[in-house]
């Protein structure tokens, strides 16, 4: 590592001890950062220094650090996950920054996502939406034959594109209305497209959009910020599908 040039960065980080603490920004210096560090590794370096100084490290959510689990959740310089297309913040690398940069780091901000500590928010609002209808009911029994239910390739691909959602909540974090409509639309569209999900499509779309409202998320007003911020590139066409499914449900 010694042959790599290192960067020194100024971090302005949201610190909040708990849900009831008002919270405030603190400024830190990140030293010895190389372009190969991921954003979270850069925070690890800062946290080691903080621990050595006897201070509280910055708390943040993370798990796989491979961009597939949806745990990491930071708004970097005003954009969820830092604004690199189809990239979670754990896969954002420091080569996208330059020496001397100042970086603002904030938690997801929405009423439905209360801050637990520093950059960690409680995303159980998304679980409420899934629990309301993001599943297919089935009777357990013998395992169905693999080819008993034929699904055309285009439909399987469409459903898979919707199922790419990792549930990180960047759609909510980026939405000026804090709406979770992209998250909800992706699940409604995925299941409505497949024969297993069609049976409950009408009940599902109503139950899930009602749960969205009851969990304190805002309403969708078609800003499309969610699509731009989504690290998996989920298209707002799935929200249009949700809207169509809702109209079908009205006629039932």
């Amino acid at each position: 590592m010694s042959d790599h040039k290192t960067m020194t960065l100024t971090l302005i980080v949201w610190r909040q001890k708990g849900p009831n603490d008002p919270g405030k920004f603190e400024t830190y210096t990140a030293k010895g950062i190389t372009e190969h560090h991921s954003f979270l590794e850069m925070l690890d370096v800062v946290n080691e220094d903080l621990i050595k100084e006897g201070k509280d490290p910055i708390a943040f959510d993370h798990d796989c650090r491979e961009g597939i689990c949806g745990m990491c959740s930071q708004v970097v310089n005003g954009v969820p996950h830092g604004g690199q297309e189809r990239t979670t913040v754990c896969q954002l690398h420091m080569r996208t920054f330059k020496d001397g940069d100042t970086i603002y780091i904030e938690p997801w901000r929405a009423r439905a996502f209360p801050v637990t500590r520093d950059l960690i928010v409680d995303r159980s609002g998304l679980d409420n939406i899934i629990q309301a209808g993001g599943y297919t009911s089935c009777h357990t029994g013998g395992v169905a034959d693999g080819n008993a239910l034929l699904i055309p390739k285009e439909i399987a691909d469409y459903a898979m594109d919707a199922a790419e959602c990792i549930g990180c909540g960047a759609c909510v974090a980026s939405c000026p209305n804090s709406s979770a409509m992209l998250f909800t639309g992706a699940k409604v569209a995925q299941l409505a497209a497949l024969p297993q999900g069609k049976a409950e499509a009408a009940v599902r779309v109503c139950a899930m959009t009602d749960a969205l409202k009851e969990s304190g998320f805002g309403n969708c007003s078609n800003h499309y910020e969610c699509e731009a911020a989504c690290p998996k590139g989920i298209s707002v066409k799935f929200i249009a599908r949700l809207n169509r499914e809702y109209q079908k449900a009205l006629l039932k």
């Binding site: 000026p176 209305n177 309403n219 969708c220 169509r244």
Partner: protein
Amino acid sequence: MQITNSAVGRKLLMAITGQLMVLFVIVHMLGNSSIFLGANGINAYAKHLHDLPPLVWAFRFSMLAFILVHAWFGIQVSVENSAATPKKYSVQKHLRATLSSKSMIWTGVIIALFVIYHLLHFTVHAIPGVVTGVDAIGRFDVYTMVVNAFQSGLVPVIYIAAMIAVFLHLSHGVGSFFQTLGWNNANTLPKISNTSRGFSFVLLLGYIAIPVVILAGILK
């Protein structure tokens, strides 16, 4: 949940009432443009309209209903949306949201206030200074009323500003209608959004042409 409480149901009701009002905005612009045919054009057009009172009143009541539904849910969802976002980011960069999409509630309020002013001005004739008379063959003289109002002062400025608010509102609103009804896909969405902006711009030009041409002294 009832359609009137649902996150999607209210959006549908707003989209449909909004779009019905857009149809009116198109017809109204075409009707107004009869002023370019001179006094005979617009006075005859106004007379034809007012010779059909049941139709005029049915139309007025429908428009009032659309406005009330659209405004009621617009205010309601805006209040909910700002409550859903109690703390703003200290640094925020929008990637796709536009001035037009972010200012819907405010351009909506401006348009509502303008509609009241416009009705008081050219329908009720309650704004001081409005010229009400009849033309040579006894028809209500819309032409003189409009030309006189737009020749100078604050009135043309109010009308042009209001039309800019309409332009911003419809730039987002017309394209949004197709998304809300689900009449699009990933391919057509950007085309619909651009067409929506272009269409709104054409309406803006059509509407402001009248005060601009009068201010320029071309219509007297």
